[in-house]
Symmetry: D2
Subunit: 359 residues, 4 copies
């Protein structure tokens, strides 16, 4: 259970890294949206292994096919099924995984939960699972952009200790995509790339931060008290592999201010209610207030390292495991489209919910 | 929408700070659990305004009544309805709120979303809304403790810049409750209390961090890929008023380590698979691994301050608002039982889901 | 579990026949709807025991209180909590029920499922549980009437073998309420009343049929493939106590026609697409087509009879049970507002869902 | 929306009659169940067009592929994705459907709801949509049989006026499958087949009744008050194409009895609580009582007839439509596996829910 997300715009993902493929079904997509594979593929290409020298070299074209839910290039309002075939299945490369639990992976917990697991390439716990999310997120982003005027951008702001300086109100998609680490601060990007390459050579890995902004969200999205917009965004981000933290607006840093300094004063501006500062991150009381929504997600260094580590095998004996084969020294560049996708899924769902209840 | 939480152990809360009261309905509680108001009231007393010199002086007894779902002191398996009457209704104290949006409160966003709001004491956006959560959480904690051997403890670890040192494996309920700020480090607690009292005198407010631990959770709880245990915990915490951030295990700090240092090696210990370190925070791949689960929540300084602030009124004119009356200089001591409650609600729901699917 | 109904307009009911009372929480009600207890009470009075000589004499005023979700006479968009206190609690009248399972009641199955039950007056299995449904249904009917122009009417069409002749396109609320059995065919109504009175004297009971019409539903409501409008209506009706069957449009009788005779030809009429006949019952492919929706529900004779019956006791010994006290010889007059309520809950939920997905 | 069914064992179907195919994702299947395509294909073959002389001749092999959720022949506990490719796509055969609404089909209502539709072969409204249900139902039936000892059988009991006599406690799968109409009464079956063949020649169609029994369900399944077992069964059946009515146990006929005659007396038998009669249909108060569950579903004559009918076109002009090509004179033989599938989906979901809440 737990493979569906959303209430009115609802996705269900499926698939393991080895087997027939990975995919997603979207239920609740508004009808008459122009949609073809060409709307989906670019985000899958941004998520794809092998796209640059700093990500995992696993080679998969990840060509998406829309199997249902569109007709003559438009959505029907019926379920949209999308599928990406698995190609680069090399089970033999992973055979040690059949008997040993990789440290800080999900091998042991899946075995404990289900009493069985697909150990090939991590099975369902592989980051390959996010293909379906990114495909559905591309649809969600298109609806937000075309029907609600909302733009979502994510970018890397920190890799280990290398932090970028980014103007979140001005940053553009082009700037983000201008380098392979997806950090719009060119200086920082260079240092990040060098750090990641060093990690690759060392067979080690690094984590960091991704920030995401949503511009143009109108006041009124979000469903307190439990489905607050930041709560659903937080859940969405914490459901991504390797994420360990989430903060909205001033976040953890905000606790250093007093209330008087932290509060966002209201002022009229161009006929609209605006806030002078935006410590709230565009959300107050769980509902969007019309300012830019922004939040950050912490991703741990990925667990796959090319080094020997202590572990336990399936017969519950202590042993060691030597990392082998391909490895992804930093998940952040590929996680950028995942963060955007999950943000878009949350926002489009809340847009439809708001329209449903409040007209 | 959005006032229900959980899938098998499902709560629905209702109520505004002014009106007939606040309450909760639990659907899905296991039958035959001994349960009376005496199981609920202690946590409500920990959440209650007026409990100490450092929280809001609003006086309400917050006596809970169980209206359904029990018989001869035991749960029936049918919905448990619990109700706390409102008593201290002083609408006149809030009359300026009828026409002016309080900065960083939800007045404006509720008005924008619904086109109407109960401005008395914040209505549904008041922290009083959490009464229902805490009442339901007391039931969840009892089930976890008695039927699954799981203990949940939360405590304040930081108020603004005052940070505590706490051994999360050893900390006890008694230590937490030994002072009014609910910080088990006595030295830090004294400083925190002094800081909060200074803020009260200044009419200002401070935020901070609450940490929560869950001990005894067996391996196997959590429902990837979307309902990962940390994702549901994150959502639960970010649905609490004033929360701005969530981190599990190593969290934001974990990004400073490399993968090799961050990974939790497995070792057999007393016949069980254990990890040598616990950067994972007791959850791997979204599923509990049998180690202590721990996470931190950042709470901003509360928005109500006794000072003049710039704002906008309901006719969209710039104006100022002078804070008056009672104020809560720091939400943290009262938020401790809220964090415990939400953690318990997530865990008991996942316990039942695991039992449902996997037997 | 299973005490909530609806997806966007979602109700949760609670309460046993003995205990603090019965109630309902509505989540997702559109904001700014004028609403007071005066909108709810009339339907509760139609549902109430003791309203006439042919229903159970149990005396309860069933005064509803709105505890939350409204402000200055209008809905807030927040949860609406409604409560009816229990008054006529006479546990001693039911003491034999503590140890013996009443035939064709739910005593045995609740005991088997939960290992415990509130045997007083049937507890949760009492028809008193429907108070919350009828209260929520009154809100749903008001929304449908005022915001969508939809009118819902239910009426008794058959009691045992006494069948009425009713023009479903013309029947009015006034005609339905003109007699105590709620059958708008006066001749049949008289015979039905005599039959029910004879049953009361015999200590026996009778069942029958209720038909319900919804006029004014626009084309487009209903969510195939599982949440077809007739599927959700069917579930709603089959969730009512004592219901054993549901049919929409031509229903069971329709199987006697061939396809050619059964098909509803389309014709333009006053600029709208209309059907010449209405065997479809206003729903095609699970979606409303703009014609009057109509369906029938079969209610079995109620199980409580004032006669000796064979049964088993809680220690699993064969025994007999002598029915005593008050009894309701025919549930139909009181079930009429229940049927209307459930129909309204389904329709308003689908209205909001259609608005959410399709704008 | 509305393409998912179930709460713990949850399916989502997708696909149109023309396009990439049809399929289903199962979320929540218990792990370690042996499962291959060979478990699924037989039921798809029973559902398939072209299987006999009395069903539609559309030729599709309907070969199912399991794309995810199994490993080495066992379920993983992760989503099971199953896919059947479309083969017999002859869009030209349906071209008149692009502009004319077929009477008593869903062409008009889909157009009204979504403002667009896939008119090829009915798109999502085609009975081909049930492929996913039947595939998922085969998994559900296997779980019920192997893990809970529950057997589900459906069969045709009436075609138009030709009614069968069947002993529901004794009927076997072999008897049902012994003839092409799936009626275990051989005499009636012969008449039914002759009637259906006459209808085919006349270009007309007939409907009828399917009865379904579930043997071996233990006491305690079902979730009042809304998710009563019969309510969920009713919804499941009424979500099937062409179904117009549902009755459980004594059903519509039960209203002719008085309460005393209708009640099922309890008696101990072989150490178990049993009922002497079974008018309740194995369910009391929404919960199974351990007796055989049985219910009937009414299917209207299918709407596709090879005759000229009055209708309206997409430009809202009156016109006529001449039925052409292949037609299915009676849906009943192919609906038998659909009924079984939906019954199994309801029962397995309730089995898991009961285990989740009550242990």
């Amino acid at each position: 259970m737990g493979n569906s997300f959303g209430r009115l715009f609802r996705i269900t993902t499926w698939g393991e890294s080895h087997g027939g493929g990975v995919g997603v079904v979207i239920d609740g997509c508004p009808p008459r949206l122009p949609l073809t594979e060409a709307d989906i593929q670019p985000d899958l290409d941004r998520r794809r292994p092998g796209q640059s020298s700093i990500v995992t070299p696993r080679q998969e074209a990840d060509q998406v096919q829309i199997l249902s839910g569109t007709f003559e290039g438009k959505t029907l309002g019926t379920p949209i099924s999308m599928w990406v075939k698995n190609e680069d299945a090399r089970p033999e490369a992973y055979s040690e995984m059949a008997t040993k639990f990789r440290p800080s992976h999900a091998d042991y917990t899946y075995q404990a939960k289900f009493g069985v697991r697909n150990w090939q390439g991590g099975g369902r716990t592989s980051a390959r699972e996010t293909v379906g999310r990114v495909a559905a997120g591309a649809v969600a982003k298109k609806i937000l952009r075309e029907q609600f005027g909302v733009v979502i951008l994510a970018y890397v702001t920190q890799v280990q200790r290398v932090a970028a300086r980014i103007d979140r109100e001005a940053v553009t998609f082009k700037q983000i995509e201008s380098n392979i680490v997806r950090c719009p601060d060119e200086n920082a990007a260079r240092k990040m790339i060098r750090l990641i390459e060093r990690m690759r050579r060392a067979g080690d890995s690094v984590g960091g931060l991704i920030e995401c902004v949503a511009r143009g969200v109108p006041p009124g999205w979000g469903e307190p008290v439990f489905d607050r917009l930041e709560a659903d965004l937080g859940k969405a981000m914490l459901s991504l592999p390797a994420s360990k933290g989430f903060e909205i607006g001033s976040g953890f840093g905000g606790i250093l201010l007093t209330g008087l300094a932290h509060n966002d004063a209201f002022r009229m501006k161009a006929g609209r209610v605006r806030t002078v500062t935006n410590n709230s991150g565009g959300i107050q009381g769980g509902i969007s207030n019309g300012e830019t929504i922004y939040f950050r997600v912490a991703f741990k260094p990925v667990a796959t390292v090319m080094r020997e580590q202590q572990t336990v095998d399936i017969r519950l004996k202590n042993t060691t495991l030597q990392g082998r084969g391909r490895h992804d020294p930093c998940v952040l560049p590929r996680a950028v489209p995942m963060v955007e996708a999950m943000a878009a899924l949350v926002l489009v769902d809340h847009a439809l919910r708001q329209r449903g209840q409040c007209g």
